[in-house]
């Protein structure tokens, strides 16, 4: 049994569990289902366009362009590009992982993709606006400014290690 099949089976069991909870009015089961719906609606809306964009990116983005902005040259601008790209990524890490993988296979450096993935969870624009409105602008500014040096340093350290050990990201596709 492949992992996909296993996950589908577990999901099927979950659907049955939720249906039974609904029939028996089992509160705990219903509460899980409610949470699930909240997330699922988001995913249903975000994932299809996100994956269309990833697919288009795959066929159109030239390796040289990616390498120039995110890759081989030691241009420190690549951190800024990575953070900018990250802040406009909708869907957080769920979308950032596949994008990072695609970037890697187009020739981006490790430090760029790690900056990207990390920043994608910290810098998303809609989420940041929501945060500032609930917790205050001061809190959000401190959190964002304090994180930039840490994520860049962290990304560089990881890159040093991965380049030394010759690590490769898995290929996901077709």
């Amino acid at each position: 049994m492949t992992k996909s099949t296993r996950n589908y089976l577990i999901f099927g069991a979950f659907l049955i569990f939720s249906l039974v909870s609904w029939i028996l009015e089992y509160d705990f089961g219903l509460a899980i289902w409610d949470n699930f719906l909240v997330f699922a609606i988001d995913m249903v809306l975000i994932l299809p366009p996100a994956f269309i964009l990833i697919g288009l990116f795959d066929v159109w983005a030239k390796n040289e362009t990616i390498e120039k902005h995110f890759g081989k040259t030691n241009n420190p601008m690549r951190f800024i590009y990575s953070i900018l790209l990250a802040s406009t990524t909708v869907g957080g890490t769920f979308v950032a992982f596949p994008v990072a993988n695609a970037l890697y296979h187009k020739g981006a450096k490790y430090s760029s993709i790690f900056t990207y993935v990390t920043a994608a969870s910290l810098f998303m624009i809609p989420m940041t606006i929501m945060e500032a409105s609930i917790l205050g602008l001061k809190f959000t500014s401190i959190r964002l400014l304090a994180s930039i040096p840490f994520i860049v340093i962290g990304a560089i350290l990881l890159e040093k290690y991965f380049e030394k050990t010759g690590y490769q990201l898995p290929t996901v596709n077709d």
Binding site: K3, N35, P49, F51, A146
Partner: protein, 159 residues
């Protein structure tokens, strides 16, 4: 969200005008990737829904520690293993702040929540590989600790 659809729609139209075959190829590639990860996503959402349900009260009870550093450690731990959308995490943080929980602890909670993903491990592994996933999460944990330390200093909660 609407912007995402506008951008995607625009990209599709432009791409199609330039090269229909390439566009179809792109759509096919996107679909294949989506199809491959869909069961992962479903499994994750299920897990998160369950964790979220049992964690909310637990968080409110445990983050308001007397000792700030203990509170930070708790927050980092809870933030790492749980996952919740912003519209739940932020109001929850607001409640905690109103109960006198220091900003430093809140920062640790919010940052590790976003950065460290124990539940997203299977998804991350599929795209980044096992080693990168583990190391990135360890790195992110330390980053979250560092950020909360700075917040603590700037808010005058330590020293």
């Amino acid at each position: 969200m609407i912007a995402l659809y506008i951008v995607t729609g625009g990209a599709l139209v432009v791409s199609f005008l330039f090269d229909p075959t390439k566009t179809l190829m792109g759509l096919k590639k996107g679909w294949m990737k989506f199809y491959k990860t869909l069961p992962n996503y479903l499994f994750l959402l299920m897990l998160i829904s369950l964790i979220l349900l049992v964690s909310e009260d637990f968080i409110i009870e445990n983050l308001g520690q007397e000792n700030v550093f203990l509170g930070v450690l708790f927050s980092l731990g809870i933030g790492s293993v749980t996952m919740m959308p912003g519209f739940i995490a932020y109001p929850l943080s607001r409640i905690l702040l109103e109960r006198g929980v220091p900003y430093m602890v809140i920062t640790a909670f919010v940052t590790s929540l976003m950065l460290v993903g124990v539940v997203t491990y299977p998804l991350e592994k599929a795209y980044m590989g096992r080693k990168a996933t583990i190391l990135r999460n360890i790195m992110s944990f330390l980053v979250a600790a560092g950020i909360s330390l700075i917040a603590g200093i700037l808010y005058g909660e330590i020293v």
